[in-house]
């Protein structure tokens, strides 16, 4: 099942955060989200489709994002996701958690 070595679950929950962050810059459909994350990480982070869609459903269930039917840049019908107010709040929380965590990790790594 072709699992990628770059799969990004080294930090649990970071995919949710990445999606929210991506959507906070503008509404996108699923494929667009993958593209954006891949490009803005200089191809370091490769989002696996197998986990993208469950993640999108989970976010929608929590009310952090909303999916509506729209049209992509090349005129195809697609579900376009947008971040909700609750989603922005959640993004702030996760961003804070994330920076705390990376700082802590950096300290540990620096202390070595």
């Amino acid at each position: 099942m072709g699992r990628k070595p770059q799969k990004n679950d080294s930090l649990p929950g970071s995919l949710d955060m990445l999606i929210l962050r991506t959507l906070s810059r503008g509404d996108l459909h699923g494929y667009g989200i993958v593209q954006f994350i891949q490009q803005s990480s200089d191809n370091e982070l490769l989002v696996e489709e197998g986990s993208l869609y469950p993640a999108l459903q989970r976010l929608e269930l929590n009310g952090w994002i909303d999916g509506v039917w729209g049209v992509t840049s090349n005129h195809r019908r697609a579900r376009i996701y947008e971040i909700t107010a609750a989603g922005r709040k959640q993004l702030a929380v996760e961003t804070r958690k994330y920076s705390k965590l990376t700082l802590a990790i950096a300290r540990v790594m620096g202390a070595e």
Binding site: Y53, P54, L61
Partner: protein
């Protein structure tokens, strides 16, 4: 989140589809991208699929996010619920049983309502059928005289809104006019109830109910025969060959099956008919209250009922034919009414001859015909609503009771809940789990309730039928009813589960962990106990009122004998006997009945005293004494020895006897009240009473005691005139035999004698006088029995509830009681301490329920007889019964409290 989840669940097919489309788009774009990088289309598609991974697994995982947790949690809750139920066997059994009783009672009554008020006729597209009715102002003018275009009727009028009268009968001319209105109706068909006739098949006669129908009847109802063909327009015209359609049941009983019946000759009264077809088993005509055995073409009534009935067709002021129509597709009932009402108005205006008649013209209205005619609905809808209300009260008590028990248990489970909450379970999650438990209890109760309901429907039908042979109420449990039961169970579960669930997950976790009781659940418990007391009181008091009504009815002074009298009817005229021989035939029969050993006397009359269901006809015109018109007197045509047989006292003169022959001077016996009213202190014997319409003078030869004629609830002593059968041309007759021992023992001898005399005459309506009297008060008997049953049940449930509450409170106070006793409190004081609280609850309950009773009991006023809805004696009795039951329920735990061993209690602490 639950709501979003629920929304998702409701639209799950749509969501799956969206997800699939979304992923396919993803694949397509990926493919396009790879292709742009230089791959061939095929390679690109394969690579995209490869990178995406397992498409359906991903879909599955995405869906699971929404669904699985919900279901798996539900599964957990149900398993946990079962464990809890099994752990509390006694509690679960009591809860399920009492719920089953409550839901079962409601289901049984609802299924009766469903069959009477909601069910459609078993015909094609019943929704497009409409019944033609009219309404008009009351027929009396300001001088209380009849002034209306209706000069004669054959059928029923019933009261409408605001004092109007309503009916479904029309003159034949109106039917002919309206059936031409084919713009709104595809068919208009007519019918009228032909009552009972003799049906002779191969010389064997029985009495059957008959419906006369127009040629369009079966086509309009869109029913087909089981065998042969049905009556059509060709059969319904003067001079057509007389044909008949019989019911499925009749074909079975009289011919041994539908195929054998077709083509057979039968005699209806004395007229030969040919059976041309058999209706389907489920077809019962258009009125759920009747089930005709025989359908005859309308115009054959001239053959069966005599040439005299031919004038019904031409008389524009005689109302008799009923009508239904089938709406054309797309035409609404309102449109049809708007089209037909002016047409009828025009027709009926022409039949009015005075200004008074013109001021009270009937106006056409249409009513839905899907469920057939409304006679059953008019008769039973109000009693059924009252019964449903009583059953609803029972269910409310049950729910309150279980909520109460759950509250007590919730208090016991507070620690468990507190532990779960402090371990991080969401409050909502715990409430949901508790609710699952109570809905499970209720669902189990609902399942058992179906058994109770089956039994309940049977006994209710039995109670309502009250021995009538032709009772046509066909109640049964169907999916509609079962669905209602299921919904009711779930609602009950939520209702009694919600308060305790919220209570027990109250967030003061630390308090609960420290095992300190709060005041909350106790207050809620007390409110529930008081509610139960109020509901029980309402049912008890209502039962008291109904029982009192029944007692009043039973103690009515009849003025004639109730016991040891056998009644039965027969109609010699329908079997072909004619004047003057028929009188001799009836006289001879009476003598033969009188000679049966054990029969002390026999007599006959055109109707039984009690019943409005008369066998024959009687004089109904104007009666005069000298020049004064006698108002409100009824005439009873009787044979010899009527007063003796019925044990009506003869106050003066003699009764009608064998000397009163067709040729001898016509005689009458009058009741005491008539004599007092119209003769004062003079001696009426030898004076004359005039039947104006018959142009007959009768000599008064006797005065009888007063008797309640035609029903127990009628005026106390209506005036009665007895005349001799032999001097009036008789139709059907009701015989009365005074017997020693059970009257029904003589039925066989009676039937033998009649068969010997003329085998074409069936004996009908065989009944004892006592049963016939009880039939007239069947509704009161039903109400008294049912309501008493309900009240006892309610009291029992309320006592269990109170008992549980007191027990629980005593248990919580064990420590306190122990200390009190250790400090020297007497047992009596402890007993009183517990009982005082019971008394307080009962007092609050009674104080609430008396005003509640006073403000709701006007609803049942029309079901009471000589009893006021606020009858103080009944209310007081209900209060005393309730109070004693409450004390009894409270005494056991109070006694236990007073027996507490202080040492043990303190150690327990």
């Amino acid at each position: 989140m639950l709501i979003r989840r629920l929304k998702y669940w409701l639209n799950s097919a749509k969501h799956s589809e969206a997800l699939r489309e979304e992923m396919e788009l993803h694949l397509a774009e990926k493919t396009a991208e790879l292709q742009a990088d230089g791959m061939t289309a095929e390679c690109a598609r394969a690579e995209a699929r490869r990178r995406f991974g397992n498409l359906s697994l991903t879909q599955e995982q995405s869906r699971e996010i929404w669904i699985t947790r919900f279901w798996s949690e539900l599964g957990q809750d149900i398993r946990y619920g079962f464990r809890t139920m099994i752990a509390n066997k006694a509690f679960s059994a009591v809860a399920v049983l009492s719920l089953a009783l409550g839901i079962g009672a409601n289901t049984a009554i609802y299924s009766l309502m469903e069959s009477i008020l909601l069910r459609s006729l078993p015909v094609a597209d019943p929704g497009s059928l409409v019944v033609l009715n009219w309404h008009s102002r009351p027929p009396q003018n300001s001088n209380r005289q009849w002034e209306h275009v209706i000069h004669g009727v054959q059928g029923i009028l019933w009261p409408g809104d605001k004092g109007t009268m309503v009916s479904g009968m029309f003159p034949y001319g109106a039917f002919e006019t309206l059936r031409k209105e084919s713009s709104v109706f595809s068919t208009v068909f007519g019918y009228f109830n032909g009552l009972h006739h003799n049906l002779a098949v191969r010389g064997q006669a029985t009495s059957v109910s008959t419906e006369y129908v127009t040629g369009e009847y079966f086509r309009g109802l869109a029913v087909s025969p089981v065998a042969g063909r049905l009556i059509d327009s060709e059969d319904d015209r003067p001079g057509a060959a007389p044909v008949a359609v019989i019911s499925f049941a009749t074909s079975l009983h009289r011919f041994g099956g539908p195929p054998n019946a077709v083509g057979q000759s039968i005699l209806v009264d004395d007229t030969p008919f040919t059976v041309i077809g058999v209706a389907t088993p489920e077809f019962f005509g258009v009125d759920p209250e009747t089930a005709p055995d025989l359908y005859l073409p309308l115009h054959t009534n001239v053959l069966v009922d005599g040439a005299g009935s031919a004038r019904m067709y031409g008389d524009e002021n005689f109302y008799w034919i009923e009508m239904m129509g089938r709406l054309r597709p797309g035409v609404s009932m309102a449109q049809a009414e708007a089209a037909l009402a002016p047409r009828f108005h025009q027709w009926v205006s022409a039949t009015a001859s005075t200004d008074g008649e013109r001021a009270r013209l009937p106006a056409l209205i249409l009513n839905p015909g899907a469920a057939g005619l409304g006679s059953l609905r008019r008769k039973y809808s109000k009693p059924l609503y009252v019964l449903l209300m009583m059953a609803g009260l029972i269910l409310a008590i049950t729910c309150a009771n279980i909520a109460n028990l759950l509250l007590a248990r919730a208090a016991a489970r507070r620690r468990e809940m507190a532990v779960r909450l402090s371990l991080g379970a969401g409050r909502f999650r715990v409430v949901r789990q508790l609710l699952t438990e109570s809905v499970m209890l209720a669902s189990l109760g609902g399942a058992v309730a179906v058994l109770f309901a089956i039994w309940g429907v049977r006994s209710l039908t039995f109670l309502f039928a009250n021995g009538q042979e032709n009772f046509t109420l066909r109640a049964e449990l169907n999916w509609n009813v079962l669905g209602a039961t299921a919904a009711l169970s779930v609602v009950c579960g939520l209702l009694f589960g919600l308060a305790p669930a919220i209570q027990s997950t109250h967030p003061d976790v630390t308090l609960a962990l420290k095992n300190v009781g709060g005041g909350g659940p106790r207050r809620a418990q007390h409110v529930l106990v008081v509610a139960q007391i109020v509901f029980s009181f309402l049912l008890l008091a209502a039962a008291g009122l109904f029982v009192r009504t029944l007692n009043k009815l039973h103690s009515v002074q009849l003025g004639y004998a109730r016991e040891n009298i056998l009644l039965f009817s027969l109609d010699a005229r329908q079997a072909g006997h004619r004047d003057p021989e028929i009188t001799a035939f009836y006289t001879d029969l009476r003598k033969r009945f009188e000679s049966i050993p054990g029969v002390s006397s026999a007599t006959l009359s055109d109707a039984s005293i009690i019943s409005a269901d008369r066998a024959g006809k009687t004089y109904r015109g104007t009666i005069k004494v000298s020049a004064v018109t006698v108002l409100g007197a009824s005439v009873l045509t009787t044979g010899p020895r009527f007063l003796t047989t019925m044990q009506i006292p003869i106050l003066a003169g003699r009764e009608i006897d064998d000397h009163d022959q067709p040729g001898s001077p016509p005689v009458a016996v009058i009741s005491e009240r008539l004599a007092r009213t119209y003769f004062g202190n003079e001696d009426p014997l030898g004076r004359r009473i005039t039947f104006l319409d018959d142009k007959r003078d009768l000599e008064i030869v006797g005065v009888s005691g007063n008797l309640r004629y035609g029903g127990l609830k009628n005026e106390e002593s209506p005036m009665t005139v007895f005349v001799a059968v032999s001097q009036f041309s008789p139709d059907g007759m009701t015989y009365a035999l005074r017997t020693t021992g059970n009257p029904l023992m003589y039925v066989r001898s009676v039937e033998e004698i009649v068969r010997e005399a003329d085998s074409r005459i069936p004996v009908t309506k065989v009944v004892t006088q006592a049963v016939e009297i009880d039939r007239t008060i069947s509704q009161e008997i039903t109400f008294a029995k049912l309501c008493t049953g309900f009240a006892v049940l309610a009291l029992l449930i309320a006592c269990v509830g109170l008992y549980g509450t007191v027990c629980y409170n005593v248990e919580r106070q064990v420590g306190e009681i122990g200390i009190r006793m250790a400090l020297g409190a007497q047992r009596g004081a402890v007993l009183w301490m517990v009982l005082r609280r019971v008394l307080l609850l009962a007092a609050v309950g009674l104080a609430t329920s008396v005003p509640a009773a006073l403000s709701t009991f006007w609803l049942v006023k029309s079901f009471l007889f000589e009893t006021q809805p606020n009858d103080p004696g009944t209310l007081a009795l209900a209060a005393v019964v309730l109070l004693s039951a409450m004390m009894l329920a409270g005494y056991a735990p109070a006694r236990r409290a007073s027996r507490i061993d202080p040492l043990a209690a303190l150690r327990h602490e």
